[in-house]
């Protein structure tokens, strides 16, 4: 059996569909970063994020036959992760308030140019309403265009654009308020 690096994504999916657990494991490693990060930024809690990410992959394992391609897999993972996160937030709204300490612990390994600003931004994104937060994450973490965001979330395109517009305006306003408060 080849190591992860020697399998293409399509190979991994085919192997996983044929019942190869090692291939499924490799698929998980390929996608865990994106799934976990979406969950973390939606729920603002590392443990809840890991729990949710694990549930998503378990659901994938049970329903792998419904996945038709690598592109479909990515689409499916984003969609299920965000819908589950939004459901959780509705049931337990206390998760909505961002805990800066939790977020600080999950800072990327790369050194950001302005760590304080970026931490503040992550906290502010965590304060957006769930649907707007999901749109912002798909745009700026996953780099999707509005049409793909609309398809992933099952949302009208204009709603997506409205969320983006308003969220950016809100983020700017709050950053400006914070800057004013310091001067």
């Amino acid at each position: 059996m080849s190591g992860d690096g020697q399998w293409t994504s399509g190979d991994l999916l085919t192997q996983a569909l044929a019942g190869e657990r090692a291939a499924f494991s490799a698929l998980v490693r390929q996608h865990q970063r994106a799934v976990y990060s979406l969950a973390l930024r939606m729920l603002s809690d590392r443990h809840a994020a890991e729990d949710l990410a694990q549930e998503v992959f378990l659901q994938l394992y049970r329903n792998l036959s419904a996945v038709s391609s690598e592109a479909h897999l990515t689409f499916w993972l984003r969609k299920v992760t965000l819908h589950r996160a939004i459901d959780r937030l509705r049931r337990a709204p206390r998760l909505e308030s961002a805990a800066p300490a939790e977020l600080a612990a999950a800072v990327s390994e790369t050194q950001p140019a302005d760590p304080l600003l970026e931490r503040r931004l992550r906290a502010l994104v965590g304060e957006l309403p769930p649907a707007a937060r999901a749109v912002v994450l798909l745009r700026y973490q996953e780099d999707l265009d509005p049409a793909d965001i609309a398809r992933t979330l099952g949302m009208p395109l204009n709603t997506v654009k409205s969320h983006l517009r308003r969220s950016l305006a809100q983020l700017r306003e709050r950053l400006d308020e914070a800057a004013d408060a310091l001067t």
Binding site: A131, H163, R166
Partner: protein, 191 residues
């Protein structure tokens, strides 16, 4: 419940007062909205929605009564006969011509329609007019004309709609939850 009702007191009270005092023959509450082709051509984004009774019925059939949000939406639209929206976003401030808008305003004249609200916000440079159509003491239509620097919108609702119920749907289905809590929670500090 109380929060939602009191939030819309500013609008519901005038509607109730107006409904009590007006008893007229029933004009249709449905506006004749132009296609706004000229506007659509200049707009960067446009929304054109026309849901009549049958389409509202079709949409209601795709709302899952066992889902609380869908059930709330079904309840909200139960009294509606139509919802019509024309909304345009532009790349520059106030790029929309007023002639076609004036055609709509002319239809919103008394006695068939009464203007409930005419308000401007000089900071945001927005202007909103809200009209209600009343038939035999019952509000049976709502019209909103909203102009913002880069967006222009007309909404026409035919039938009765509970605004407090609409407000309760904020935050669901991608309807943005706006941070407006007049009772003091998260109120924006005055600068």
């Amino acid at each position: 419940m109380k929060t939602s009702c009191s939030r819309w007191r500013w609008l519901l009270a005038p509607v109730a007062t107006l409904a009590a005092s007006v008893a007229l023959a029933a004009p249709p509450a449905m506006l004749n909205l132009p296609d706004f082709d000229a506007l659509a051509g200049k707009a960067t984004e446009s929304v054109n929605i026309s849901l009549d009774t049958s389409l509202l019925g079709l949409a209601a059939g795709f709302l899952d009564s066992s889902n609380p949000d869908d059930a709330a939406t079904k309840e909200l639209i139960a009294g509606l006969k139509g919802i019509y929206v024309r909304s345009f976003t532009f790349g520059q401030d106030f790029a929309y011509p007023s002639a076609q808008v004036d055609q709509v305003r002319k239809q919103l004249a008394a006695p068939a329609w009464q203007r409930l609200v005419q308000v401007s916000n000089s900071r945001d440079r927005t202007h909103v007019d809200i009209y209600v159509s009343v038939d035999r003491g019952v509000a049976n239509g709502l019209a909103i004309i909203a102009s913002e620097p880069r967006e222009f919108t007309i909404v026409n609702i035919v039938g009765s709609i509970d605004l407090a119920k609409l407000h309760r749907l904020e935050g669901k289905f991608g309807i943005p939850k706006l941070d407006l809590h007049p009772e003091g929670k998260d109120a924006k500090p005055d600068k």
